[in-house]
């Protein structure tokens, strides 16, 4: 994933540890959207998710020295994001709302058919509908699937981030995909 970049994430964090602020800015640029898409699965609320991503990137700024070059940077930063999200969830009990977000990050009402129909579709499934399906599958399946299929992380990385054995992760991802496929199939029918 980092092949297209001049410096790997690990090289950048090392440079930032040495005081290069541009390296930090580059890491922010690379990860802010990825973290947002990950954290959103915990909250279903863009603003709250953005706040958690901000906290994560601030932690990267203040605790960069804690990173040791034994783990992949992505594993480290996603773990921080996950812990921040869980802390935030504990603070505010999750509110189930009937809202979804469009691809440009705007919250919309799922009852507003006009908005849903107007949104772009991909492989016959609207992205907002996909998000709704994801919300409907159990959280432990959802987080594993999101890290694998949206973030394209390896099973090993996901296992470290979620602190779950790799065999369980594989099983959850498979089960999550099957459940998601079932929902999509019914939607198409």
């Amino acid at each position: 994933m980092n092949d297209k970049f001049k410096y790997s994430d690990e090289k950048l964090i090392l440079r930032f540890q040495e005081g290069d602020i541009n390296a930090y800015n580059e890491l922010v640029k690379r990860y802010k959207d990825r973290l947002l898409n990950f954290v959103l699965r915990y909250f279903n609320n863009v603003e709250q998710a953005e706040d958690v991503v901000q906290d994560t990137l601030i932690k990267l700024y203040t605790h960069a020295s804690y990173y040791k070059n034994v783990a992949k940077f992505s594993t480290w930063i996603f773990t921080i994001a996950k812990n921040n999200a869980l802390t935030e969830l504990r603070k505010n009990k999750r509110k189930k709302t009937d809202s979804l977000w469009t691809e440009d990050g705007q919250i919309i009402d799922i009852n507003s058919k006009e908005e849903s129909l107007d949104s772009k579709v991909q492989n016959e499934i609207a992205i907002d509908q996909l998000n709704k399906f994801l919300d409907e599958i159990p959280e432990n399946f959802r987080m594993a699937v999101v890290l694998r299929d949206f973030q394209e992380l390896s099973y090993e990385e996901i296992s470290k981030i979620l602190e779950i054995p790799i065999g369980t992760i594989k099983s959850r991802i498979n089960r999550g995909r099957i459940q998601l496929a079932e929902k999509m199939k019914h939607f198409k029918e």
Partner: protein
């Protein structure tokens, strides 16, 4: 291979993470149960949808907000690196306050009014009285001596 095992291995087959023996076993099951091939296609389709779904972008104000928070952090850092943990401004205020308290105390507690000096004066007075009494006793003794020598001369 039974149905449960088949279902457990769908992702492995799609992601090509099976060994040859397992793969052959899985494909044999699919050939024998073509109705289940649809399930594999559905899972593959779901994966494609997710992998090609456009990702959400952070809001336009995200970067500015982050930069503001970093600036605030840096400001706090500079403040805390003042003198003895105080900012320069607070350190000046503190020093002035301590100086004012000292001056005020010195003004309010005059030496003549302090118990320490009163006690000291009393002890000085006592010493003067003792000295005066000593002198008087010595004078009487001297007079006695003179009288005595006078008596003895007379004798």
């Amino acid at each position: 291979m039974d149905y449960n095992k088949f279902e457990d291995r769908i992702s492995d087959w799609i992601e090509n993470s099976m060994d040859i023996k397992e793969r052959k076993e899985f494909e044999k099951y699919l050939a024998e149960n073509p109705e289940h091939k649809k399930k594999v296609d559905d899972v593959r389709n779901a994966m494609n949808v997710m992998q090609t779904a456009p990702s959400l972008k952070t809001s336009d104000s995200f970067d500015k907000k982050l930069q503001d928070r970093i600036n605030a952090l840096n400001d706090n850092k500079n403040v805390s690196s003042g003198i003895m943990g105080f900012s320069r401004q607070n350190f000046v205020y503190l020093t002035l306050s301590v100086f004012c308290i000292f001056m005020l105390s010195a003004y309010l507690i005059q030496p003549s009014q302090s118990n320490y000096f009163i006690a000291d004066e009393e002890s000085v007075t006592q010493e003067n009285i003792s000295e005066k009494e000593d002198t008087e006793i010595k004078d009487v003794e001297l007079l006695n001596d003179v009288n005595g020598s006078f008596v003895s001369d007379k004798d």
